[in-house]
């Protein structure tokens, strides 16, 4: 049970308050970007390349322009005149907005059709004739690293290969020594597949440029409106669009998951079109474009190794990664972390030696990779450590639960310094796993498994005990394009005691309008119901870096608490003045100050706020407003213990997930219902790469599953009945002890599922399966072992 300090009427932290935003969503009154309709608005559609690598010989727009309603076809050559044909990525790489001569991946933007209706724009798109000279693409990232591979980024002067960057961290020599001397060494090759966020709402925008005022209003699906405003100013400043003339409005968003952090070419083309034509231009991707062209996630090829003793002590790990970034490095990592937070990959275990390295390469595939519901490559890291820990357990013949219990960092050893230099803030890993094991009846299941194996039936149990690293981040290390990764809150309380609070973040379904209100309610005692939360308009909200990487609660949530505390300090002063006592004589209970020992002498927060406008002490600033920009002192480290139970049909390879227990520890919980909802959704997105999703390309760079017919996003039917629970280990450095939870399930679930399936197949000598693990792959593996 979560303990609540406030009444249900106030609904501060710990209350399962119903989501304030749901009323409008359930009544169909959400306001998404495609709902925005402006006078004289035009529509844009984009012609895309059918080839992965080709020279553009000619673009013939004649037939398109003959279609009634089609006004213009914009090409790279047109944008080149304004120097708008290239743009920077968030990783300081470069990306074409529209090509002037070469296309680098299938579905790349080739040119844009502007028309008076969406239908005319699409008809125009179909009528544009582009002739190409097709070239042989480089698709396999390993082959891209060959000395003989053609150099793809010839636009970069002096570029002689397809290598983007090398990253390494840890203790190389010490790791080698431990590996050379260790009793047990295990190694597996793992591919974390290229996947796509596939949010229900695709990307889009309405670019609305006013020539007379030189003002751009940009309505767009972005998780980071302020950062986008700055990026637009950097890209388009030279044509006179400076930052004070740009207003980015991010309306309701139907799922982001990291896919709405980058700037896509379509946004820039729409701005250019509105700038050139002087009318608003709407661009909304269709489902296939979204899937085929927008930034992918993951695509890490990892060689994972673990060294340890025969009795189960982990001594060292080693990870070597090849990162396929496609045509350009369009990741959305903090600048100093090209592999994101991969270095959390030493896991939840107490050992002091690890070495990790990564090489990034260009291929003729769409650019990426964004952090899909993941704090920058944590999903890849957790899969590697949790799979290799199971592999190690299998090798030494010890139960994977026992190996984990044996190696966990102990509760009393926090804060704990990882071999990679992170300071884990808090955790109680033993308690989490124990609760998960008790919930699922772990040892009972192991007995049942042994019995089933005697009957030739395949049952598997898989564990994942992960540590997350979220809340980017402290300004000394964390920035995007130089902007430090703080976040902000501004609270204005009106004379009648009701408030509006604005934030630099942007909810895409996380429930900020409810949880931020609850944080403020917790501190000030104003009912959460009376606190209006607003985000997404750069003209009104304080500057912030946006919502991704589970950072909203750790950063903006903290800012809300600190700003509210500033107001509480002011409230105390006013209460003392009104009650004619000193501040020290006052005591607080949620929603009111009263005089110690005389509870009848009381001022409610509403009375105090009213006084701040009507009757405040001489010399005090009027009003009841506060702003805070929160720079976190450290990241937060949520953790979880997940156990998955599967049965595998030997004859068909079909996998049936029988149980899935998820125990999360996200520190103090703001709204248990919202956390549970986050975990349910995240687990479903965790089962996705484990069993269903992967973007697949043939050797010519054609995507083989470019629609949702073949790109298999799991639905309610594929989801097992999730069994969720929690332990609570507050973050010691966060103002309200919260850690963030959005990504934990997505990060933690895949290895639990993979471990369960491999466990089911392990009696036949199968030690590893590449995700997504499909019935076909299971059957093939069993066939190779002569089982079927």
């Amino acid at each position: 049970m979560i303990e609540c300090k406030t009444s249900k009427a106030i609904s501060g932290m710990g209350h399962s308050m119903k989501r304030k935003e749901d009323g409008r969503f359930l009544h169909g009154q959400g306001n998404y970007v495609d709902d925005i309709k402006l006078p004289d608005m035009l529509y844009m559609d984009i012609v895309r390349s059918p080839y992965a690598y080709a020279k553009i010989k000619n673009i013939d727009s004649t037939a398109a322009l003959a279609i009634p309603g089609v006004l213009a076809v914009i090409t790279g050559k047109d944008l080149e005149q304004y120097n708008l044909h290239w743009m920077p990525t968030l990783m300081s790489d470069t990306q074409m907005v529209l090509p002037t001569d070469t296309v680098m991946y299938q579905a790349q933007e080739v040119c844009a059709v502007i028309a008076t209706s969406r239908y005319a724009a699409r008809d125009g798109r179909e009528a544009v004739k582009v002739s190409y000279e097709v070239m042989k693409p480089v698709i396999d990232p390993y082959k891209a690293m060959d000395a003989s591979a053609p150099v793809l980024r010839t636009d970069k002067e002096g570029k002689k290969d397809n290598h983007i960057w090398h990253w390494e961290a840890g203790q190389k020599e010490r790791t080698e020594k431990i590996f050379a001397e260790a009793e047990v060494v295990v190694k597996e090759q793992m591919h974390i597949p290229r996947i796509h966020v596939s949010s229900i709402e695709t990307c889009g925008c309405v670019a609305d440029y006013h020539k007379v005022n030189n003002q751009l209003n940009m309505y767009m699906t972005t998780q980071a409106p302020h950062a986008i405003r700055t990026v637009i100013a950097l890209v388009a400043g030279h044509v006179g669009l400076t930052e004070e003339k740009i207003r980015v409005i991010s309306p309701d968003i139907g799922g982001g998951f990291g896919g709405k952090v980058p700037v896509y070419p379509g946004y820039v083309i729409a701005i250019a079109a509105s700038f050139l034509i002087g009318q608003p231009v709407k661009w909304i991707e269709d489902r296939s474009e979204n899937l085929q062209a927008d930034s992918f996630a993951r695509d890490y090829h990892i060689t994972a190794e673990m060294a340890g003793t025969k009795d189960g002590k982990i001594l060292a790990t080693r990870f070597k990664i090849l990162a396929d970034h496609g045509y350009t490095d369009a990741s959305a990592n903090p600048s100093k972390f090209p592999t994101g937070m991969f270095s959390i990959g030493t896991g939840s275990y107490d050992y002091d030696t690890s070495f990790m390295e990564c090489d990034a390469v260009y291929t003729n595939k769409p650019p990426g990779g964004v952090a899909y519901r993941c704090s920058f490559r944590v999903t890849e890291a957790v899969h590697a450590i949790e799979r290799i820990t199971d592999r190690f357990s299998l090798e030494i013949g010890k139960d994977p639960a026992d190996v984990r219990m044996q190696n966990f960092i102990k509760k009393e050893d926090f804060p704990w310094k990882s071999p990679m230099g992170w300071e884990y803030d808090s955790g109680d890993y033993h308690a989490g796993l124990k609760l998960a094991m008790d919930t699922v009846d772990y040892w009972g299941l192991r007995k049942k498994q042994a019995e089933m194996r005697k009957e030739g039936k395949l049952m598997g149990i898989g564990i994942s005990t992960f540590t997350e690293i979220v809340g980017a981040g402290p300004s000394k290390d964390f920035d995007i394009l130089g902007i430090k990764m703080f976040d902000s809150a501004e609270i204005r309380v009106h004379p009648t005691g009701k408030a509006i609070a604005r934030f630099g973040t942007k909810s895409q379904g996380q429930g900020h309008e409810t949880t931020y209100a609850q944080i403020i309610a917790e501190v000030l005692g104003i009912p959460a119901e009376n606190i209006q939360v607003e985000e997404g308009d750069t003209d009104t909200a304080p500057y912030g870096l946006g919502t991704y990487a589970s950072r909203s609660t750790p950063t903006a949530g903290a800012a809300a608490a600190v700003a509210a505390r500033k107001l509480k300090d002011k409230a105390r002063k006013i209460a003392a003045y009104l009650l004619e006592v000193s501040e020290e004589d006052l005591e607080w209970e949620p929603g009111k100050f009263f005089v110690k020992g005389a509870p009848e002498k009381v001022k409610t927060i509403q009375e105090i706020v009213f006084a701040s406008y009507t009757n405040f002490p001489q010399g005090m600033e009027a009003g009841f407003e506060a702003t805070h920009y929160y720079d976190p002192p450290n990241l937060t480290f949520p953790s979880g213990a997940y156990i998955c139970v599967v049965e595998v049909d030997k004859e068909t390879g079909a996998i049936d997930v029988k149980r899935f227990v998820a125990i999360d520890d996200c520190g103090n919980i703001i709204n248990p219902m919202i956390v549970q909802g986050q975990v349910h959704g995240g687990l479903t997105q965790g089962i996705a790469p484990a069993m269903y999703e992967e973007l697949i390309y043939d050797e010519d760079g054609n995507i083989l599953n470019g629609t949702l017919m073949d790109y298999l996003v799991p639905t309610a039917v594929e989801s097992p009945s999730w069994e969720t629970g929690h332990t609570v280990t507050p973050s010691p450095h966060h103002p309200i002890g919260a850690k963030g939870v959005g990504e934990s399930p997505t990060v933690g679930a895949p290895p639990a599922i993979a471990n369960a399936i491999v466990d089911a197949l392990s009696p036949y000598g199968i030690t590893h399966m590449e995700i997504p693990i499909t019935p076909f792959k299971v059957w093939k593996a069993l066939k190779e072992k002569g089982v079927v």
Binding site: R118, Y119, R122, D123, E126, D286, S288, E651, T652, G653, A654, Y692, I696, L704, N705, T707, M709, D710, L712, V713, P714, T715, V717, E718, T774, P775, F776, W779, K780, V788
Partner: protein, 289 residues
Amino acid sequence: MIPAPFDYESPTTLEEAFGLLDRYGDEAKILSGGHSLIPMMKLRFASPEVLIDINNIPGLSHITKDGNTMKIGALVRESEIEHAKELIAHFPIFADVTKLIADPSVRNRGTIGGNLAHGDAANDHPAVMLALRANIVISGKDGNRTVPIDEFFHGFYMTEVQANEILTEIQIPIHGKGTGSAYHKMERKVGDYATAGVAVQLTLDANGTVTYVGIGLTNLSPVPMRAERSEAALLGKKLTDEVIAEAAKCASEDCSPSDDLRGSEEYKRHLVGVLLKRMIHKAAERAMA
């Protein structure tokens, strides 16, 4: 959904529909549930100039028993079949198959007539109808003609229904006591086409001898396929493990699946055998119940 431009007609009688078909010929497509046609139009794989919506034509939405025949109107929705008690009492295979057709929202629109007239071996009803030896009623301005299901499918998206005709009814013979039917498909997720699917109907006499058997296969050949050698392996025999294994082997050999993202040809040949065994057992259990 942004298809190429098209005209829309909504006749209220079959005669009116035939007139429109005569007028537009190959340029027209008939719209019933639309769940195959509209996705193709969305992707512009299909760009008919005219859609003739037959949903407002009365008399095509019945499920009735007429003597020893079940008659199903072409516009009957999958969700109606899913809950048609009398039909399912005679043919439990319909409870199996409708639950595996896409998802509830698709089943609320998709029609049995459209599922068959699309002529796609990946659809589920063709295999079921092959197993049930259905007869298909095809209507045109000169009247109705009835075609056995074995003569209905001609090729990929090609059926016996001509450009000026409409599939109006499916007629299924009811076999006597001791008959059971079953369907299953392996799919990667809900709404997917089958990796492999098998429909079986059989009749057992008092001694357990197979006196009738029909087997249809889903998505294992370019044209919906009846597993005739498998049927022959079972007919007149008792369902011993050897007999069933022989039928499964025949189906594995006779189907012609291709490699795709669902699996290799070899996997599919293996699967059809496994599924056929299971469906024979399930149909036999139902026959004896």
